[in-house]
């Protein structure tokens, strides 16, 4: 078996094993309702982290706007469900269509934003993606869509231009967002989505295309000089990354009955949160992303007993992990420990 195939299978197996354990615990009634509530968010954040990992870990470009793509996915998916709700009653089909629409829209936005953004490098690219994320959120807060007897109504910025007749309902009401979305998402759907995305992502990074993307990360100029079309591969990675975040968004929208685009859920704070999952899990490791997303989503919930202190602890953990990973002293100490360990093993072998 090839090494890469083995890696993929291990990760897939890990996800499945976690799923099985959680399902068994749930069947035994050992999972509190609080924990049940965070199972879908764990899937959502894992998806977004996998998506961002392609952009940050493999393409090597820092994006601080992935919450924006999540937002696009969530709103287009939810709108799609709201439009089709009356015609299609099968929830599975409804979700698949919403997923398709959400992913396509996120990919489209990724493409449109990628055209200007990918001309820049490094910190400038980061700040522009951040700006785009904020713009997307801001624009969605100003779109109004309503439906009444005479059909659909649409307005931008000014909601007063829509005069609703009797039995008229708002579908997207600006800052109040979309309400009464059917709650289709569940843990099983989340896990299935993660598995699909994992297979796609692993295939991507282990393919010729993936190696081209990584060569851009390692040395753009060298990659260009051996004939790799840098713009094309950068765009490809960015769009795929956005599309996966969009899938996370669709899952998010169908997990809550009301979604609004506020700074807390789709602002740059969320983008940073996803980035933290990617970096702590290890850039370029999808398995790490999932583990980090799951741990860091569960950690604040498990620390809920400490209520006020949990975010504080979270931030200290973040700083401490970074220092432990990178500070020269801690690196020396780690090297020393590794040496000691090796010596012990050598001694054992000698004995």
């Amino acid at each position: 078996m090839k090494k890469t195939t083995k890696q993929t299978l291990i990760t897939l197996g890990m996800v499945l094993a976690c799923y099985a354990v959680v399902e068994i615990l749930m069947a035994l009634g050992l999972v509190s309702s609080l924990m049940k509530g965070v199972l879908v968010p764990v899937c959502i954040y894992s998806l977004c982290a996998i998506g961002l990992n392609i952009c940050v870990g493999y393409l090597g470009e820092l994006s601080l706007g992935h919450a924006g793509f999540m937002c696009v996915g969530a709103f287009s998916g939810a709108l799609c469900t709201k439009f089709l709700e009356g015609f299609i009653h099968n929830k599975a089909i409804l979700f698949i269509i919403a997923l398709f629409v959400g992913v396509c829209m996120a990919a489209l936005f990724g493409f449109l934003i990628g055209i200007p953004v990918l001309r820049l490098n490094g910190d400038y690219l980061a700040i522009v993606t951040l700006a785009f994320g904020e713009i997307i959120k801001n624009i969605i807060n100003n779109i109004y869509i309503a439906k009444d007897g005479s059909g659909y109504r649409f307005a931008f910025i000014n909601s007063k231009t829509i005069e609703l007749g009797e039995e008229g309902t708002w579908i997207l009401n600006g800052p109040q967002g979309i309400s009464k979305i059917p709650r289709i998402s569940n843990f099983t759907i989340g896990i299935v989505l993660i598995l699909i995305v994992l297979v796609i992502s692993y295939n991507l990074v282990n393919s010729r295309t993936g190696r081209a993307i990584m060569s851009i990360r390692d040395n753009r100029i060298a990659a260009e000089s051996i004939g790799i079309n840098v713009t094309k591969y950068k765009m490809l990675a960015f769009v795929i990354s956005a599309a996966i975040a969009g899938a996370g968004g669709v899952l998010y929208a169908h997990n809550l009955s009301t979604i609004t685009a506020t700074p807390t859920n789709f602002g740059y704070n969320m983008s940073i949160m996803i980035l933290v999952f990617v970096v702590l899990g290890g850039m370029g490791s999808f398995r790490g992303s999932i583990i980090a997303a799951a741990l860091l989503t569960l950690l604040p919930e498990m620390l809920r007993g400490l209520s006020d202190y949990r975010m504080l602890i979270y931030s200290i953990v973040l700083i401490a992990m970074m220092l432990f990973n990178w500070a020269p002293k801690s690196r020396e100490w780690r090297d020393m420990m590794v040496e000691k360990f090796k010596e012990k093993r050598l001694k054992k072998e000698v004995d």
């Binding site: 522009v128 801001n138 807060n141 970096v279 504080l312 200290i316 970074m322 990973n325």
Partner: protein, 293 residues
């Protein structure tokens, strides 16, 4: 007259952005890192002044001085504990640490000061200026803000051009290793940069809260991001760039609010940033460094 009023408001807001942007631009120029916690130092500065004035009954000027001193100490401590060990680490690791520090400051403030909004008392007691027969009123806060900004800019430019420490800063931002070989204390210089940036953040915070008097543990993040945008706008690493970027961003934001839409003002400000970066990828006054193999 309407337009002039909006322009003055824009310049006032822009001056605050410019002072904050200075902190970002100097730290970025020297340590090559995005100091995400800069916005939260503003918040700490505001709370110090608020507590000094309303709880301890200290006058405005001593409270501001105390706040500047505390912020400088805070900035230097953060640099020492969190950023200094990471000098050789990848920029992403430093960025994440900065985000961690930002969360830490926000949540500590949440614990210490509580989540409820406090109303900040204006520290400026200057009477407002009436021009053009009562049609144009410029508030004292606006005048103080703009004057502060100009004074800080001039002082900082002089400091960098005329003093040894300022020249050392330039040298370190150019080439750290070469500066060290020339006998410059690199760690000390970086520390000094953080101190100046944090001190300026305290002043900017007081001015910001005087103009928009609501105080919560999260007030620092949005002006922080905007000011960073302003720094990038003007060309990061450049001090006059921070001034121009800040003031332009302020004017664009206020005009956008007045003439286009209140809700879209952030989007407009960010959209202009994107357009500027596309036309001139290193900002308006930034140096364009050509990549060589």
């Amino acid at each position: 007259m309407e337009l002039v009023k909006y322009l003055i408001n824009g310049i006032s807001l822009g001056s605050i952005y410019a002072i904050i942007a200075l902190g970002y631009t100097m730290v970025y120029g020297i340590a090559k890192m995005l100091n995400f916690a800069h916005g939260d130092i503003i918040m700490v500065g505001c709370y110090v002044v608020f507590i000094c004035m309303s709880n301890l009954g200290i006058g405005a000027i001593p409270s501001i001085i105390l706040s500047v001193v505390i912020c400088i100490a805070l900035g230097m401590t953060i640099e020492k504990i969190a950023y200094k060990p990471l000098r050789k680490a990848t920029s992403l690791a430093v960025l994440i640490t900065a985000i961690g520090v930002s969360y830490f400051l926000q949540n500590s403030a949440l614990l210490v000061f509580g989540a409820n909004t406090k109303s900040f008392t204006n520290v400026v007691t200057l009477p407002s200026l009436t021009l053009a027969g009562g049609e144009l009123i410029i508030s004292g806060t606006t005048i103080v803000t703009v004057v502060c900004c100009i004074v800080i800019m001039l002082a900082l430019t002089l400091f960098i051009k005329k003093t040894k420490a300022g020249q050392a800063m330039l040298a370190v931002s150019e080439d750290k290793d070469a500066a060290q070989l020339m006998g410059i204390n690199v760690n000390g210089t970086i520390s000094l940069t953080f101190a100046i940036g944090s001190g300026l953040a305290a002043i900017a915070g007081v001015l910001f809260c005087s103009a928009y008097p609501t105080l919560t543990p999260f007030i620092g993040s949005m002006p922080g991001i905007k000011a960073f945008t302003a720094a990038v706008f003007g060309g990061i690493g450049s001090i006059p760039g921070a001034l121009i970027g800040g003031i332009l961003l302020g004017i664009i934001e206020i005009l956008g609010k007045a003439y286009i839409s209140t809700q879209l003002s952030d989007a407009i400000a960010f959209a202009v940033l994107i357009i500027v970066l596309l036309v001139k990828p290193s900002g308006m006054l930034g140096e364009n460094i050509r990549e060589k193999v």
